[in-house]
Amino acid sequence: MMSSDFAIEARGLSKHFGALRAVSSLNLDVPRGQIYGFLGPNGSGKSTTIRMLCGLLTPTEGTAIVLDTEVPGDSRLLKPKIGYMTQKFSLFADMTVFENLQFIAEIYSYPISKRALRIDQLLENYDLVAQRKQLAGTMSGGQKQRLALACSVLHHPELLLLDEPTSAVDPQSRRDFWANLFRLASGGTTILVSTHYMDEAERCHRLAILDRGVKVADGTPGELQAATGMHILEITADDPYAAQGAIINLKEVASVTQLGMRLRVLIPDSYERPVELVERALAARNVGASVFATAATLEDVFVAVTLETPEAST
């Protein structure tokens, strides 16, 4: 069978839990060898989608081709080819780092002659040599996360599914973790990673933004930033709160976010001359401020695509 260029192709994937539509008609194309991000708030359907893709949950509707295997279908063929890192630490807390790795090697029937070498290599790569004999449950968040990653890649999976892998670790650990992901991706592993951190989303080759179970945007970070459909304005004011009050009720203003002494304002690009518009509104209230247009960040993209629309709020 011809191998597809995509590690994951999902069509119309939906999952309903009773009345709750956790994921609605999701289409997804994840190219091989890339890091693909799922960006979305809690409850946006990231975990549910990942669980459907690895066969843990049966989709209510739709199908996906994951590594040339149909989902839902016989997931036995798929399991040896994917690695999955759960959101919650799921290794055995009452076994040592080495014992956990050894157990995973046994379960995946990793060739016995190469087992010891592979485990040593992983301990080295994921900076766990000193923790070799430590019980997994007594380690720090960052160490647990490195162990979980090491266990999920032990059997050289083609596809790695990571469900909010960095939600419980400090910034330095997150940086190291992403360095590891890039090394894996350069080795040919496809990585699907869910996150709610903007800076992590920005590091992905491509990403999809999910909001209440619906994919509201996807593309490279650059494409998404270029296509927000919004003017992005930044206001610097002595009294940002007053400035906010002066513009918040303008019909043209889609969103205002305060960042210290600055305000970030999103105005749909169907309106012209947004800077003048905002300056007039501020002057009318006698608020001293400077206004200038700027380029969109991923956060602006996120705010722009997840704005509450009248249909969605019902």
Partner: protein, 366 residues
């Protein structure tokens, strides 16, 4: 060979975790020993030294002789002497005595006539065992009565207790206790085994590996079969050492019966763990199995004396069949081949419960 090596991986992991879990490890050894000591020493249906008071209204030479002989039976222990039957009733009601003995004024004459009862026993009937013991007293030979010999008594039925002639309680209790202890520990361990992994999140990891449900189930059961066998050895050893409980039949037969019984309980435990969402729920469900296993299995009360409905429940429980097997093999020197229906039931139970457990445990979260 892959399935086998995956099963062995699970077994190795279970043993490792068990070794580090001091509480569970302690239960493996501690639970049987403590229960043996409790049941072996505390439960004694062969009652002696019942607190007794006497109202001797006759005060004759004959009545004093009777009282002395009553004391020598050791069934009763004379703790008080009172004047009237009313005094005895008061003592009974306050729970100070279990038996009251009334010797009427005309005791000597009644003994001679034998037409009316010479002595009244007031018995605390709120405890059926005491009532039973008091009934035994009726058969007490009147050794002081020179007018007739002991064989002259109106006994047409003679009881010969087979298999336990000394009527020692531990001999009756311990074969059944093996079943109760194994039910408790085996179901407890396995019912918690899978639920705990679900609670800790390990299950989400496991079901994303090539491990199949059957491999997981078998891998989880094997270590506990070994533990069950160890517990059996421990119970038999302690029973022998402390209570002199015999194994009259073949030890091999006993172990074969126990293997079938342990397997039945483990598969029942697995079934529970596929139904329970938390360890606490698993415990609650276990109590539902454990209580009938003690009360309706023939361990506590004779099976034939139970109402039909309770007998049906009893018949469904593995422990009922295992108690028949152990009592047969250990006390009556029966061969396993003579007790085949009970063994077949245990094997059938295991197969059915295992199939249900494997079907219920899907490798999915929904």
């Amino acid at each position: 060979m892959k399935p086998l090596s995956r099963v062995m991986a699970i077994v190795k992991k279970e043993v490792r975790q068990l070794r580090r879990d001091r509480l569970t490890f302690g239960m493996v050894v501690g639970l049987p020993v403590i229960q043996m000591l409790l049941f072996g020493y505390a439960i004694n249906t062969d009652v002696r030294h019942l607190a007794t008071a006497i109202a001797d209204q006759a005060g004759s030479h004959l009545s004093r002789q009777f009282i002395a002989e009553l004391g020598q039976t050791q069934v009763v222990e004379l703790i008080a002497s009172v004047e009237t039957a009313d005094d005895l009733e008061n003592l009974l009601r306050r729970g100070e005595i279990s038996i009251g003995v009334v010797i009427p004024h005309d005791f000597d004459r009644r003994v001679g006539q034998r037409s009316r009862a010479a002595v009244h026993l007031l018995v605390d009937g709120s405890d059926p065992t005491i009532l039973g013991v008091a009934n035994q007293l009726r058969a007490m030979p009147l050794g002081f009565d020179s007018t007739r010999s002991a064989t002259d008594a109106l006994q047409i039925i003679e009881v010969r207790p087979f298999y336990n002639p000394e009527r020692r309680s531990p001999v009756n209790i311990i074969p059944g206790l093996i079943g109760v202890i194994l039910t408790m520990t085996m179901i407890l361990f396995t019912s918690v085994a899978i639920v705990r992994e679900r609670e800790r999140g390990n299950l989400e990891l496991l079901i994303n590996t090539p491990l199949s449900s059957a491999e997981l189930m078998v891998g989880k059961v094997i270590p506990y079969i070994v533990i069950g066998m160890l517990q059996l050895a421990l119970i038999l050893g302690v029973g022998r050492l402390l209570f002199d409980v015999p194994v009259r039949g073949s030890v091999l037969d006993l172990y074969m019966a126990a293997t079938a019984f342990v397997a039945a309980n483990l598969s029942l435990g697995l079934l529970i763990s596929t139904a329970a969402a938390t360890q606490f729920q698993a415990m609650q469900m276990m109590v539902f199995i454990l209580l009938p296993s003690i009360l309706l299995s023939g361990f506590m009360f004779p099976f034939d004396g139970m109402p039909t409905f309770a007998q049906y429940i009893g018949e469904a429980l593995p422990n009922t069949h295992f108690i028949r097997l152990t009592r047969g093999i250990m006390l009556r020197d029966a061969a396993l081949s003579e007790l085949l229906p009970d063994l077949v039931y245990l094997i059938g139970f295991t197969v059915v419960a295992m199939i249900f457990a494997a079907l219920r445990f899907t490798k999915r979260l929904d």
